[in-house]
Amino acid sequence: MDFNDTPEEAAFRQRAQAFLAAQVEPRAGQTESLQKRLSDKEYMLAAKAYQKAKAENGFAGITWPKEQGGLGLAPIFSVIFGQEEGKFDAPAGPFTIGLGMCVPTVIAFATDAQKERHVGPALRGEEIWCQLFSEPSAGSDVAGLKTKAVRDGDDWVINGQKVWTSGAHYSDWGIVLVRTNADKAKHKGLSMFFIDMKSPGIEVRPIHQMSGGSNFNEVYFTDVRVPNSQMLGGEGNGWSVALVTLMNERLAVGGSPGPDYKEIFEWAKTMPGQDGGTLAEDQSFRQKVADWFVRAEGYKLAKFRTMTALSKGQTPGPESSIGKIITANQLQDITHNAMESMDHFGIITDAAYAPSEGVFQQSHMWAAGLRIAGGTDEILKNIIAERILGLPGDVRVDKDVAFKDLPSGR
């Protein structure tokens, strides 16, 4: 039992460190992030340049097959690069979903000619991809989506609405899951396409979040034409294709979403407590710090166990589902406690007054969303129960019924 890299891993890590040090700024020491300092346009240019550099230096498509321009390495090398990249303020965000989920789907299902046309530009940061699955009435139940595509000659014509699409406004291409046959059962009438996001009839609108900002979009499709040749996996096989896309989601998630035990405990040393000392000296607060420590470290160490499996060439299972349940709920709890422990002062978000520039208040908003995004607490617990523990699925009323006959509510 040890925490060391294999010689091969160590060499790769060293190469990655050297590349990153030459290419991007370290995170530590910066008061404002690159994204905040740059305009949206400048940031996008920086991101594309960074992705290009990764491709040129052998750090793009780490696990992809070599024939697609990838490195053909085991997943552990992807994790190692991610660990090192996380220490820097690298402008990698715009590519996470495209390279993590969309293009691997294209690689799996597209024709050789299509791969030839699309994979390279994506890898070199020339084109950005987004993923269009969720709909207003199809969140946890993605297969309940209603956006439909009707065949018209060599094309399909898409009408409907997608939602929670990251990066739709700056993406060049997207993969879109649509219903091509509502007479078939729910999961059997779906098909997947890849589509030019500049196609006529596509309208992208930002979603105004409860936290104030807009990190996601709604995407409206009005008589949008897409060639039949851009269907992935064949007509009616959309659900199987989507599962391949979503399988890659788990590996793309990671990183600390906000202040954890470390931050609140350090901060508590500067805050007044109940008994005349600092908050960090309050017994009841200390008991909570211990609980937060145990969960945060436990989750970090669980990831080390996953890395060990990757390092041995094993495929990690659905165990990683526990991660977001823990981090999102812990974030909500920690920030709630931080705000309340400031008494009336805790309500202030004004950067001029709020301690830590209001990071606890901001994160308290984010935490509420984090418990929902990318699988709600409830869906993740279903996954743990069914896929890890092997418990039976819930009763399904939506099997063997034509989609058009299913109840759908609001």
């Binding site: 409860m210 104030g212 008494d343 309500i347 908003m365 609001r410």
Partner: protein, 371 residues
């Protein structure tokens, strides 16, 4: 056993609900939410004053309706449900109650009739930084005639006409009244977690101030005011919690996933049942607080603490799980879930955070047992 509101009180509640659903609709709440310059809805404030609510629990001799605290409780619940964007709690639960229990006849005569008419907006200026304001950490000073120092945050401080200020005085603290239209007062709006209610910093520079209650007794008096406010806030919190539970229940019935109403899944059912249980615990404790408040019972300090703790718990749970029940929709600006999440947090810290009240509760329990 008659542990319930009277039919008249229930009728008042019903009328209040009807009135507020029209006058304080979510569209009204959102005008304040979306307009940083707007501290409150002045039209709604006038309408509430016209209904006589501001003076509901003010004696007739001081221009009020002369109803009791129980009537205030039912109004508070409906104000909480509607998220009314007006300085109601600051003015009625804190400022008016303070004048009522500690003001001289002259102070009552000067302030309460105008307050009942809507001409006086009160606020509490106690906090100066993180943590409970105490003699040991206050910097604001009262010299017998004027007050100097800075207070932050002051809920409704940018629209208030009068402030109740906690300041160092003699060997302890005193609570003083400052007319904010007077000299030496500067108010500056600040941003908070709940933009549907306005907040400010108040800076006093030798601002004329008059003592409320006994000199040196400020903290104790503030805590007496908090006890009364805690019960009224609890009803406001219950109104908000009930609104969250209603929203979540309604959504769970109408929203389908896997071609079933999501309310048919036990995960959602049990979540809403937990919200209901917390709300019933809060409601029962608040009822007891209302009884103690209205009958000036010696049980008030303990009952108020229990009412406050239970209400804070219920509202936090209800507001966060209402978002969760709504899924992605719950995270949008346009759906109202977040307005309750924000308000729940404000009400939980406005009169002392729950952990402080838990310690108070146990101390009061010890005193009761010792008596």
């Amino acid at each position: 056993m008659n542990f319930d509101f009277s039919d008249d009180q229930k009728y008042l509640k019903e009328q209040a609900r009807k009135f507020l659903s029209e006058q304080s609709s979510m569209a009204v709440v959102r005008t304040v939410l979306n307009d940083e310059q707007k501290s409150h809805d002045a039209g709604l404030w006038k309408a509430i004053a016209d209904m006589g609510w501001l003076g509901a629990a003010i004696p007739e001799e001081f221009g009020g309706l002369g109803l009791g605290e129980l009537e205030l409780c039912v109004l508070a619940e409906e104000m909480g449900r509607s998220l009314a964007p007006v300085p109601w709690a600051s003015t009625v639960y804190f400022f008016a109650e303070a004048i009522k229990i500690a003001g001289t006849d002259a102070q009552k005569t000067a302030i309460l009739p105008k307050l009942a008419e809507g001409g006086v907006i009160g606020c509490v200026a106690a906090s100066e930084g993180p943590g409970e304001p105490r003699a040991t950490n206050l910097k604001t000073v009262f010299d017998g005639t004027s007050v100097t120092g800075m207070k932050v945050p002051v809920t409704d401080g940018d629209c208030a006409t009068h402030a109740l200020v906690l300041a160092k005085h003699q060997d302890g603290t005193s609570l003083v009244i400052v007319d904010l239209s007077g000299a030496g007062v500067e108010a500056k709006a600040i941003k908070t977690f709940d933009p549907t209610r306005s907040h400010a910093t108040l800076t006093f520079t030798k601002a004329p101030a008059q003592l409320l209650g006994e000199a040196g007794d400020g903290e104790a008096l503030l805590h007496r005011v908090y006890d009364r406010a805690a019960v009224l806030l609890a009803f406001e919190q219950i109104g908000g919690s009930q609104a969250c539970l209603d929203m979540a229940t309604d959504y769970a019935k109408g929203r389908y996933a896997f071609s079933r109403q999501i309310g048919s899944f036990q995960a959602i059912k049990h979540k809403l049942a937990d919200m209901y249980v917390a709300l019933e615990i809060a409601r029962s404790n608040a009822f007891y607080g209302a009884w103690a408040l209205s009958s000036d019972a010696p049980e008030l300090p303990l009952a108020a603490a229990a009412a406050r703790i239970a209400a804070c718990d219920a509202y936090y749970l209800a507001s966060k799980e209402n978002i969760q029940t709504h899924g992605g929709m719950g995270f949008t600006w346009d759906v109202d879930c977040h307005l309750y999440y924000r308000r729940a947090k404000l009400l939980a810290v406005q009169a002392g955070a729950p952990s402080l009240w838990k310690e108070k509760l146990v101390r009061r329990l010890e005193m009761r047992n010792a008596a």
